[in-house]
């Protein structure tokens, strides 16, 4: 089943919101007509897990690297927004290649990495790019990324025995903090208190099934909401996956297996978990997969011959729902932000180009922009 597309009609942009899909008979007041005749229009793509702006491209490997604050295994007080360079080539790539919204989070070296942020991909000041309707995000990580980082420093947690213990200790501290009537406000504790009050959601980097189990146990113990990011091995036990009832963000999938942890990486996981009824999105983990190549994962998922509208959802509506911004963006609808991309062909056709990207009703990029720069 093909979803209807707006191939020959246009739509009207008033300010930053889409106010009307019009047919040719639309006669309301307007300043300008954007004739998209012969073009394909899709909602702007959403990448729910990136490090763009934090782990910059084109800067070598130190100057633009602000992704992991590896001075303590739990740094809930740090915020991605404070490290983002809106001029990063990664963000430019995003808008030029159709990604209009990204979630930017700290890396996976710490059990609690810090607060993530959802931003639109055009602007010179990151504050103006923030998608304010998004649910608050606390980035966490489990498994061997943590123990690689901290065992090298001979610091706690050097083994997976203690990874869960770090999280339990911090959440327990937050509970104590919340119970203390004479508490002195600390940012670290406020962030975790938000999580326990379910105002924020935990975004947890995890690969192996045994670590996913540990996360599920701790989430039950402390009662918080979470999303599984990467979840590399989750598809190896579908029945278990169904019991979790949490959104998953798979990827990056277009990568070679560089460790035992990545043993289960496969595009097949998308199909398996979609069929299991989970809310699935796909990430680039940019710059792991740079955002100018975001469509490659779409092409490769198509090899599994899923319904193409389901595949598009992996990059639009599903991440919007996961981030809690589905009322604002992620699909084309009246009252939503006018975030859309215009292609000269079907998005699944490798020859088709993104002619222009619109964010909040403004043309901000496209592949030709990239070629000129």
């Amino acid at each position: 089943m093909e979803r209807p597309r707006f191939e020959t009609t246009g739509f009207f942009c008033g300010g930053r919101e889409i106010i009307w899909f019009f047919s040719l008979s639309f006669t309301g007041p307007h300043d300008e007509v954007l004739n998209l005749s012969g073009h394909y229009v899709y909602p702007g793509l959403i990448d729910p897990h990136t490090h763009v702006g934090l782990l910059e491209e084109e800067t070598g490997n130190f100057a633009g690297d602000d992704v992991n604050e590896t001075t303590s295994p739990a740094t809930p007080g740090v915020r991605a927004i404070d490290g983002i360079n809106p001029m990063d080539a990664g963000i430019r790539n995003a808008r030029n290649y159709g990604v209009t919204t990204v979630c930017v989070m700290p890396g996976s070296a710490n059990v609690i990495g810090g607060e993530g942020v959802v931003i639109k991909t055009a602007g010179k000041s990151v504050d103006g790019m923030v998608v304010s309707s998004a649910r608050k995000i606390v980035k966490m990580a489990f498994g061997r990324n943590i123990t690689w980082t901290w065992s090298k420093k001979e610091k706690y947690p050097s083994t997976r025995l203690a990874v869960g213990a770090v999280l339990r200790e911090k959440l327990n501290a937050a509970k104590n903090y919340m119970a203390n009537p004479e508490r002195v406000c600390t940012y670290e504790m406020e962030v975790l208190a938000n999580l326990l009050k379910k105002e924020a959601i935990a975004r947890i980097h995890v690969a192996n099934l045994e670590d996913i189990e540990t996360i599920a146990r701790i989430a039950r113990e402390f009662d918080f909401d979470y999303v599984l990011d990467h979840a590399t091995a989750l598809h190896t036990n579908v029945e278990f996956a169904k019991t979790l009832k949490v959104p998953v963000i798979l990827g990056p999938l277009n990568v070679a297996g560089k460790s035992f942890q990545s043993y289960d990486v496969t595009f097949a996981s998308v199909k398996i978990l979609l069929e299991a009824g989970l809310l699935v999105s796909v990430m680039s983990d940019a710059p792991v997969i740079p955002l100018n190549l975001v469509r490659l994962q779409l092409f490769l998922i198509d090899r599994y011959r899923l319904d193409r509208s389901d595949i598009l959802d992996l990059f639009t509506e599903n991440p919007a729902k996961t981030l809690g911004i589905e009322k604002q963006t992620g699909s084309l609808g009246i009252g939503k932000d006018a975030d859309f991309i215009v292609l000269d062909g079907d998005i699944f056709d490798y020859r088709s180009r993104i002619r222009s990207t619109y964010i909040n009703g403004n043309a901000v990029g496209g592949e030709d922009y990239e070629m000129d720069s």
């Binding site: 084109e58 297996g257 496969t266 740079p290």
Partner: protein, 384 residues
């Protein structure tokens, strides 16, 4: 064994596509559009697309351990010394590495495996037929397929830490010059003891072995051309990220260029000018000897045909895009008499796809190597 593959859209690469059939005999393509014969086993391709097996000119499958511990199974870079031409990638390969299966399932039937790029001269590569039915030694197509050299950031960053012999690009160049000068001196020496290191370098100097040089920046490309001119040896450029900035030099000298991996982030300064347009710009400038590479595991090997697709997206002709992953790398390895196209007399390395090879949404249905069915996706599943 003789058999016929019928009812396929044949894409010989070296000629226009057509609907037809092939006769396979003793592992070779024996005849195009053979007459129907009774009693000959026939495979019906159901109108799907048949392409020659894909050729990967530059990867590290087997020396890199796939899905395993990178300390235990890192056998790509012998970074203890800067000049190690006597290393053979062949000796670092893990025969049962999962990467071979990954390549086969995605239609890559010939693999040229090089040592890494951690040293100015890292060692010789090996070209293998990716045919699981053969004993490992039987898979070897060329035991010494080229001498791998490297320029730019990698030898610098490695050897400033390990052997402490390189701090700058100048030292990389100086060490390469010294190595070749040593080889020339060695050749003149009387009553010499056999020195494998020197013998390999001499093969390069005599034109028996080609130097494949890992190089990104335009200035590095020019440096290695300068050195090659001084000593008079043949080079191929690997990666050649900034080749599109100096296409004239490459066309004039007719240097083969292997572009890729095109799908990584700009994580080091020397790749800042990476562009998906590089192949198209080189073609427009007149470069014909273009091939594409994945450098697996830098990007997974299944991306090789997709690199060709994206090059087409950015203006490369479909003809050169297909050649760049089949006949061109075959020619660069000196194997174009055996592989790289569907022509009579060549090895029956073939892949059957449900969509065209350049459409990245294609599925590989069957893979044949030397005329034998070696991967059946329906039975064994996709590997990606």
């Amino acid at each position: 064994m003789k058999w016929i593959l019928k009812n396929a859209i044949l894409h010989p690469v070296t000629a226009e596509a057509f609907r037809g059939s092939l006769l396979i005999d003793k592992g070779k393509i024996a005849q195009i559009n053979p007459p129907e014969r009774k009693g000959t086993q026939t495979f019906d391709a159901n109108g799907h697309h048949l392409f020659p097996g894909i050729v990967e000119e530059h990867c590290h499958i087997g020396t890199h351990g796939e899905k395993t511990n990178q300390t235990a199974d890192q056998d790509t870079n012998e970074w203890s010394e800067p000049i190690t031409p006597e290393m053979q990638a062949l000796d670092g390969i893990k025969i049962f590495d999962f990467g071979f299966r990954m390549a086969l399932a995605n239609g890559i039937t010939t693999l040229n495996i090089f040592p890494g790029s951690g040293s100015p001269i890292t060692g010789v590569g090996v070209a293998l037929k990716n045919d699981p039915s053969l004993r490992f030694e039987e898979r070897i197509l060329i035991k010494e397929s080229g001498l791998k050299m490297a320029f730019g950031e990698n030898p610098k960053s490695v050897h400033s830490k390990t052997s402490k012999t390189i701090q700058t690009r100048m030292a990389t160049a100086a060490l390469i010059r010294k190595a070749f000068q040593d080889a020339l001196n060695y050749e003149k020496k009387k009553d010499k003891e056999y020195n494998r290191r020197m013998e390999i370098l001499l093969k390069v100097l005599k034109g028996e072995l080609t130097a494949h040089v890992h190089v990104h920046r335009a200035d590095d490309i020019q440096t290695i051309i300068r050195i090659a001119d001084e000593f008079g040896f043949k080079i191929h450029l690997e990666h050649a990220t900034e080749a599109h900035l100096i296409p004239k030099i490459i066309v004039e000298r007719q240097i083969p260029v292997a572009v890729g991996p095109m799908f990584t982030a700009k994580y080091k300064i020397e790749v800042n000018n990476r562009s998906l347009q590089t192949p198209a710009i080189l073609e427009r400038a007149g470069v014909k000897d273009l091939s594409l590479i994945t450098d697996h595991p830098v990007i997974p090997i299944w991306n090789l045909p997709i690199e060709a697709s994206m090059a087409v997206h950015y203006g490369l002709s479909e003809d050169l895009a297909l050649r760049a992953i089949t006949i061109n790398p075959a020619k660069n390895l000196g194997l174009d008499h055996r592989i790289g196209s569907l022509e009579v007399g060549k090895d029956a390395d073939m892949i059957l796809l449900d969509r065209e090879l350049l459409d990245p949404t294609h599925r590989v249905l069957y893979v044949w190597t030397n005329g034998n069915l070696s991967y059946d996706t329906e039975k064994e599943g996709m590997v990606l």
